[in-house]
Symmetry: C2
Subunit: 536 residues, 2 copies
Amino acid sequence: MAVKAQVLYDFTAEPGNNELSVREGETVTVLDQTVGGGWIAAQNSGGQTGLVPEGYIQVIRVSNVSGGEWGEDSWGGGGSYTRNTTEGQNSQGHTNTQQAYDDDDDEWDDNWDDQSVSGYRDSNQVDEEGGASGRLAHGSTMKISLNKFPFSKGPNPEVFLLAKPPTNSRDRLPVYMGEVGAVWLYPSSPVDCVITDPKKESKLYGLKSFIEYQLTPNSTNRPVNHRYKHFDWLYERLLEKFGSALPIPSLPDKQVTGRFEEDFIRSRMERLQAWMSRLCRHPVVSQSDVFQLFLTYRDEKEWKMGKRKAEKDEMVGPMMFSLVEPEGPELDAAEVERRCEQYSRFTKLMDDGVRELLNVGHTHWKRCTGPLPKEYKRIGQAFGNLSTVFNSSKYPGEETLTEALTAAGKTYEEIAQIVAQQPQEDLHFLLETNSEYKSLLGCFPEIIAVHKAAVEKVKEADRLVSAGKINNNDRKCMNQRISCMSYSLQAEMNHFHSNRIYDYNRVMQLYLERQVTFYQQIADKLRAALNQFSTL
Amino acid sequence: MAVKAQVLYDFTAEPGNNELSVREGETVTVLDQTVGGGWIAAQNSGGQTGLVPEGYIQVIRVSNVSGGEWGEDSWGGGGSYTRNTTEGQNSQGHTNTQQAYDDDDDEWDDNWDDQSVSGYRDSNQVDEEGGASGRLAHGSTMKISLNKFPFSKGPNPEVFLLAKPPTNSRDRLPVYMGEVGAVWLYPSSPVDCVITDPKKESKLYGLKSFIEYQLTPNSTNRPVNHRYKHFDWLYERLLEKFGSALPIPSLPDKQVTGRFEEDFIRSRMERLQAWMSRLCRHPVVSQSDVFQLFLTYRDEKEWKMGKRKAEKDEMVGPMMFSLVEPEGPELDAAEVERRCEQYSRFTKLMDDGVRELLNVGHTHWKRCTGPLPKEYKRIGQAFGNLSTVFNSSKYPGEETLTEALTAAGKTYEEIAQIVAQQPQEDLHFLLETNSEYKSLLGCFPEIIAVHKAAVEKVKEADRLVSAGKINNNDRKCMNQRISCMSYSLQAEMNHFHSNRIYDYNRVMQLYLERQVTFYQQIADKLRAALNQFSTL
């Protein structure tokens, strides 16, 4: 059966690039998901075929039971939130995809395992001018958009605003008033973990193979093993549970080719480490059951039981706000709105800034690994050639010159190598950090939209009371809840700011340190080459 | 009357570039000599118009007396050599062009004054990939080819080989056997001169203006003034007199636009200085009457008389060889041929090496002044923008980070400027020196061809004796003369080698010194930027 996909954003094909223009809302047929470089081959309803950026479309997972047509209830993992909506507490109602998750580990669909786009380091595939990822302006918010779908378009915010607070106080999320304003409760001993030893494993007598990473948390110091698809499962759970309130950064991109090449494994491990470290630093995420399970499960049995429990968790999506217990005074909807606007402005501006830095960084990367070292090599070779020619002159006493010229030539050839390798030494970390922030910042529009939708609902409270739809107690409850939402957002923004200051301080220092070393190394090499020439 | 030009080399137009394909020997009509960038607008006999590289054609100067048709006797300054050939000692026979030179200074055609292509520094006009000068593979040998024309295609080498030695021994050119082989007699006090104070002068009540340079030779320490066209006149004289035996470097290129702009004047003066310094260092050229006249004339009268005398000089072209007095034993034609081959190989190889260095240098120049600093500026601005965004966060205590980020941004913007200016600081001199050597090396094929033609003639000596065309004394004389030619070439090659070693040693040191300073400066700036970040 042909795989269909829903177009999420308008995309205009570049002439002569074998691309296909698509419009938001259009349904296309997926022809090939393995073309690589962030592209998918697709056919529109008019029969035209071409490449579309994979982030611009969402493959429709068709339930075998309900038939081939795409419908509201066939949206992916995000559908789980519907369990907790007005549609009823139907714990059996999760979708086909989730059913698969519940099955034995070996039954997971291996097609989506370990496949990712390598990101900017594969300069052949990714190009800020023409490649797919450069155009994925909304790439990082995609999954969240889908998961928020039931909230934004489905059930009303009142579901949360009027829901009963949970009875289990163990999950409560206190918000304190610190020096910088509202802050989460930070754990006394912060969680951390180290990812090491990627191992190629296989199953089905070697027919299927995958990479298993070893994670060692500082709490137990006992290593656990996880495959990429386990990380992806954790990501889905965190997104489902916290995505309405906290930015959950995307996992490292998918890569289609070279999944067992050393570079790719090293690069993925480095990115998984960065992803885990960021989550470990988050006071809410790192303390959650699902995250603790991922890091500290003792055996397969505990892991599988924990998985099932996490997948049945009902405190997901905006319900999280009902756990927030702020220390500060109650805020009204207008104040919440004002803060939302302020955070929205900031995250939008920072998103622009991060994108610009990523753009110029990618351009610079290409120059430093392409034309620039080629030029230094040619300069070096030109000096070397001249030296060879001079050597053939048979004119006596020019050995000092020819030897110095040869050395100068070799120096420029060495500089070419240094220049070509340098981005991996410095620009790499600057771009990695900014990519992480691009991913985080991509989550905020949705988080802020959730708040805005709640504010709009609270504005209607008077009318709802008049119409007899809610009573004054409900109205009071709504006001109290929206205040909680605002404190949650403030605490999260302050967490974001404090991490941002730490991260940018660290990455800028690293970048500048290595840039200094780079230029100093070249200066020293050239000084040595200079000293080979005879003083006149 | 339409200006006609003879096409010297095949030129194939690039499609879409408004160029005109022409074939060697074709006559075209010159439409516009002022288009600039080394191009001339021309029309072929079929009526097609387009641009042709100015070095590929030779404007035909039609004598008003002899009528409009182009003929052998209408070739330019080089025709003067015919005075000393089998066509007779007709001292009245110099061409129309020379007649003009003999007239009052103001009568010189101002159209060719002060017009030159600015060379590689004008990156808009000159481009090693597409521009006119990049394609002028034979550009520097052009004038010599024309001047050698009477020798190569006109009178036989026997004109020199059998001519009587001159009676005036004052002009004799001794060749000694030094440590490195044959060497010219070097003057005990080397000539040098300094060019300063370019002044814009005008005549015809300001209708015509020009730049006058002040030259101060070390011999008299008395400044003399010269316009560019005087330098051009000197170049023509030296080429005529010495071009068969010594490489006479071309004058700085013609430039059509901006002849009074400061940069152009500074650049031309610098190049005229380099040109004069090189000639001053040459023991034969610097001691010649015409060169001494140029540097030391006392007044207008002495200058004009000297000019007339120089233009009537009969010891020009291959006749120079008859002045050579070698110290070493007589060489035979086979030995001369062997040495010719050796020098030909070397100069060809070095010409290739120099061209390659110029090519990569021009490419590097463009990158360093174009995309690279733009990228550093963008990186700097991206840091600066992030700092501005961070500043708007209202999160307390991040001044250290935002100030350091701003400083880092400014540092990269400064680096952008340093990078853009750097080629002028270092690459400039490397390219200038290599351009000079390209010009010198371009003279050797002709010099070597003169020797080869003489060798061929001497090989015929037996047959000529049998045919009664020459006697045994003539044959002996020929052998003696070709030996002189070889010593002259050896002395010149040794002069070339010794200068080459000096020049490349000097220019490579200068280049590397300034490259070290450049990289060190950037390392230091970045270190200062790094220190603004707080240690974590």
